[in-house]
């Protein structure tokens, strides 16, 4: 169940997280993350069947707001922080692949 981390697992996870790792980093992180997961074996080994995850520690539910307008931020403020913008929109390099 709690197997130590393999190098290819780390590589796959890095891709999912949009991170590039060098070969050396791949090795280092495989070792370091493996250590943390080893330490986590103590909880992986527990039989916690029937134990339910807790949502909010004090049981808050139904926190909602009324459907009422509030001020938006000005577009200038929004685009001022954009690394690249055009025509009032955020510009990005081409997207490969449609949205899921």
């Amino acid at each position: 169940m709690a197997s130590p981390l393999r190098r290819e697992d780390v590589a796959k996870v890095a891709k999912l997280a949009r991170l590039t790792l060098s070969e050396a980093e791949l090795d280092l992180f495989t070792e370091q993350l493996g250590q943390v997961l080893e330490h986590a074996k103590d909880i992986a080994a527990l039989n916690l069947e029937g134990v339910v995850a807790t949502a909010h520690p004090f049981g808050l539910i139904n926190v909602v707001r009324e459907d009422v307008l509030r001020p938006s931020i000005s577009r200038d403020a929004v685009l001022a922080m954009a690394p690249d913008a055009e025509d009032g929109r955020f510009a990005v390099p081409r997207i490969i692949g449609e949205a899921p």
């Binding site: 926190v63 931020i73 949205a99």
Partner: protein, 467 residues
Amino acid sequence: MVVGLEVHTELKTTTKMFCGCANAFGAAPNTQVCPVCLGLPGSLPVLNVRAVDLAMAIGLALHSTIASSTFHRKNYFYPDMPKDYQISQYDLPINAGGYLDLPDGSRVSIERAHLEEDTGKSTHLGGSGRIHGADRSLVDYNRSGVPLVEIVSGPDIRSSAQAHLYASELRGILIATGASDGRMEEGSMRIDANVSVRRVGQPLGTRCEVKNLNSLRSLQRAIDFEAARQFELIESGGTVRQETRHWDENLGATSTMRTKEEADDYRYFREPDLVDVVPDGAWLERVRGTLGAMPAERRATLLARLTSPNAAQLDALEVVVDLGFDDYVLAAIDAKVDAPLAMARAANELAAGIENIANLSRDAFVATLTMEQSGQLSATQAKTVLFELLAHGGEPGDIAKTKGFEQLSTGALSDTVSELIAQHPNEWARYRDGDDKLAQFFIGLVMKFTNGQANGKAVIAELQARR
């Protein structure tokens, strides 16, 4: 073929799902955004209660089980997603199960109808304007955070016609609950189809998801194409690959969307910034109380008031319910207006002025038709009055007076008819001898002479009296 449909509808709330920015179509890009819907560092979501009400209304209309639900994060990177995760619902959706009965008598099961937030919108520059071949893309986050309900049907649909019927009926329900305006062309209602084929009695085949269906007609065409494509593929010894395909309306075909190398692992986990939604009995009853009748029930109610409707009247009935005018028609029928007349005026004149329907009260509609029916107004005049009411509101009686739609006094009419008979002795002779078709001739003359102010029925009465 086996078809399941996933329908996403934007909810007709004033503000977005998790923030107070306006939920409105057509604004200038990035003018309806704030830290929350832009996903700025430090921002937090707060749930819009109206979105929950509308989701529950949809659940009630679809006979779903409405239970406690949680929100989950669906994690993936895409530039139109400000947080690079979407707040959605996963294993505990607000509405689970349910069904939709269609006018053809079939029933389609509903798996779930859950809440989620919409993404921003990207436009692609360079190339064809489609994503492939583009140099860069521009993103507008006005739509980001708009509340959505995603309705997933079971794989119960067996023909493209049934799919069309399902989508149309569902759309009617979404409009009737007040949840949606159902405008596919504006993107407030989006449909994806999951299509597979199999021989009867065999297990389900591999399915493909078809996207980019912008109208009910596209839906039907795309399903037919895709089913045929898969069938031919299998018949020629190939296997259907599970993939997402894009419908091209111009080409009339689906094509593979370029898929990413790695399969999506969304790493769903419970959204820690939101708390559970627990609809208690009082909340449900409040929503149920605001729910009007659904299209099926409204069609049945109206149908019951018609005597031996012909095909044209049945068509009109569909239109009337679809457009939400059935309460006008019922009010008229209750006031002793002929059902076919009421339906015709609703399906035609009201439909034409649907943008301004708020200007026309039921009472005004009923009063106008009552005047038409009694002969005070001709058909043309009645239509004009309705047009005026829709454009500017007001009172039918006042409008009739202003436009000089005075009833021609019986005396004036009688004189007119006499005059015209005298002018056309040959035609009168033929009519008197039994040629009924000439009634129209004289009616036409009277109308022309009186500038349309004569009442057709009254003219006929005059002619017959002198025959």
